[in-house]
């Protein structure tokens, strides 16, 4: 028996157990899980091989060959103040090892519904059914199929009006387990919400997070979504975020990655009605043997859409990052205005980036552009700072902070911005002594 077979059998056993344990769930949900698991059994994990452009640079064989315990029960003793001090002043919905944690969650502001999905099946069945698994297709996506097969708990967020207080949805992992976090965010017409979705580890060891997030923006809704992947350097993190935009909706995203051993982040934004706007920013910071792959798709399906993508990466040591960006302008999506850019700062000769932004345009009167750069810190800049008495390590630190400021300055929540700035340099061993 090969290891891959063993892991599949483990998933199957866990799946059966889950279906039994949750036999009281609505039928549609149990069926959904069944269908999704059948898809997973059929297609398995994606393979990095020729012809599979989507997974060309990211090899998940090691992940596919490992088994992780599932649903080991809620862990106590999670130190919120230490793990995510940036959420001071935010409302919080927390999950530990995949389970909703009442203890770590806080009361919510007016106009906001946020709860465990398990509870939402009963209380917001209509919204849940309308959106859950409708945006994140699982038929051709092994990881998403697996997540959907294990759909039990997760976060349901519904913004009904203008919500002033930011919401933090946090998934904490404390031990060597697999979790399938599921988040559904719905923005009612003209609602406004600022949400931080974060993944943190309370262990330095390995675990596997297989997350799927769906965001549905109804007419004129605005969501600012900050997605933080800051897990242990041994963790496997697979993320798939699907955003559906209705007319005149605005989606603002920041993807922040400074953690995880193997990270694959898919983000697809479908501008499915006129006048939708999407602003996507990203920052990935890698070192050691980390591998971080961002695969971002902006799908302009209707006219008068506007999108801006700006990702930056800092790579150190032997790390590797991949940026695959596709802006698709579909037939009829006339007068689309789209731009994407990926810039990388390479601090080590051994680090490597594959950056491939691409455009596919099938409409008329479209403004579109893209660019990718990768380079080292400019010697001229280093010398200039040194010539003023600043030592080289500190000079580097300044230049790195300068590099990320273009991305992080857009974070208007001050404690969060400060934490991200700090985390960015602390994530790189060369700066630990300097700051």
């Amino acid at each position: 028996m090969t290891q891959a077979v063993a892991t599949h059998e483990q998933y199957e056993a866990d799946f059966r157990k889950l279906q039994e344990a949750r036999s009281a769930d609505p039928d549609w949900l149990k069926e959904l899980r069944n269908t999704a698991f059948a898809h997973f059994q059929e297609i398995g994990f994606p393979v990095a091989r020729k012809g599979n452009e989507q997974w060309k640079y990211t090899d998940v064989r090691k992940l596919a060959a490992e088994t992780f315990p599932y649903d080991t029960g809620a862990a106590a003793g999670v130190d919120a103040a230490q793990l995510f001090p940036f959420d001071d002043g935010m409302a919080r919905v927390a999950f530990v090892n995949g389970r909703f944690s009442q203890e770590l969650s806080t009361p919510l502001p007016d106009g906001l519904v946020a709860m465990s999905l398990a509870q939402a099946y009963a209380e917001h069945g209509e919204d849940v059914q309308r959106h859950l698994a409708r945006h994140a297709a699982y038929a051709d996506e092994g990881f998403t199929a697996l997540n959907t097969a294990f759909l039990a708990d997760g976060a349901f967020v519904l913004a009904e009006g203008v919500v002033q207080t930011p919401l933090h949805v946090v998934y904490v992992t404390t031990e060597r387990v697999v979790t399938h976090p599921r988040t559904l965010i719905v923005g009612r017409p003209t609602s406004e919400l600022s949400i931080v979705e974060s993944y943190v580890s309370a262990t330095g060891g390995a675990h596997f997070t297989n997350a799927v997030t769906e965001v549905a923006l109804e007419e004129g809704a605005q969501v600012t979504h900050r997605h933080l992947l800051v897990e242990s350097r041994e963790a496997y993190h697979i993320a798939n975020t699907r955003v559906h935009q209705s007319r005149d909706s605005v989606y603002r995203s920041l993807v922040y990655e400074a953690g995880g051993g193997l990270v694959r982040n898919d983000l697809t934004v479908l501008l499915d009605a006129e006048g939708a706007e999407a602003y996507l920013k990203g920052l990935y910071v890698t070192c050691g043997k980390q591998h971080v792959d961002n695969n971002i798709n902006i799908d302009h399906a209707k006219p008068h859409g506007y999108s801006r993508l700006y990702y930056k990466g800092i790579l150190d040591e032997q790390s590797r990052a991949v940026f695959g960006g596709l802006v698709m302008v579909r037939p009829g999506a006339d007068k689309t205005d789209a731009h994407q850019e990926d810039k990388n700062l390479i601090l080590s000769r051994e680090a490597e980036i594959d950056s491939k932004p691409a455009l596919e345009i099938y409409a008329d009167d479209v403004k579109a552009g893209h660019g990718a750069t990768a380079g080292a810190i400019a010697d001229e800049a280093l010398f200039y700072m040194q010539s003023r008495g600043i030592d080289p390590e500190r000079a580097m630190l300044f230049l790195v902070r300068g590099f990320v400021s273009e991305i992080l300055d857009s974070v208007t929540i001050e404690p969060l911005r400060n934490w991200l700035e700090e985390r960015t340099t602390q994530a790189l061993p060369r700066f630990r002594e300097v700051a």
Partner: protein
Amino acid sequence: MADLLLEVRDLHVAVAENEILKGVDLAVSKGEVHAIMGPNGSGKSTLANVVAGKPGYTITAGDVLYSGESILKMLPHERARAGIFLALQYPVELPGVRNREFLRAALDALRESRGEDKLGVREFNKFMEAKAEELGLEPAMMKRNVNEGFSGGEKKRNEILQLVVLDPTLALLDETDSGLDIDALKIVAEGVNRFRGPEKAIVLVTHYQRILDYITPDFVHVLIDGRIVRSGGRELALELEKRGYDWLREEAQTGAAQTA
């Protein structure tokens, strides 16, 4: 010689395989202002950069002494902490690094190396804003990224702001006058003159003698093709203004031919 500060001895410098400085001697004492003049490409910036420790040059022979000790093995920031300052001919843009933070980090580093306490934020801001105002720099410029989107003149004035805030002992000013209109030139010259003093030394690299109308040098040296071909007083600069560099170039060539 009293209080010899900088001594360049038979300095030979190459970039890749090209020899750029071909035996330069220069002695600068505290209290003095030396002007280094010469046509484009003669090696003026190379000389200033090598003294400041810019990487990329190979010293093939000779030495540079500062306060009596060779500094060739010192890193740029160590030289800065020893009191050497270079105003760059082409000040570098530092994306995302605010002018004020940059200057403060530099001052902190220098003060720390001298065993002095760091200035408090308010104290520093007051001090720096006063200096900026003297140089006609808007306070808003201190919040902008270093040199990013600055005009040529603003960049040069910003270099002089760093000079007066960091207050080194030896100032190397590389074509700080170029690209300045007459009003800006006067402001910059006033800044340099305020810095000037018995404990300070200035090496003023310039292509034109114009700035010397405002900053009177004690010595003028002419650098042509990697060699100092003539040294003199203030009057040498005026002669160069009238006659250009060609006569010296020709003299240097015949001189070189004769020695050969």
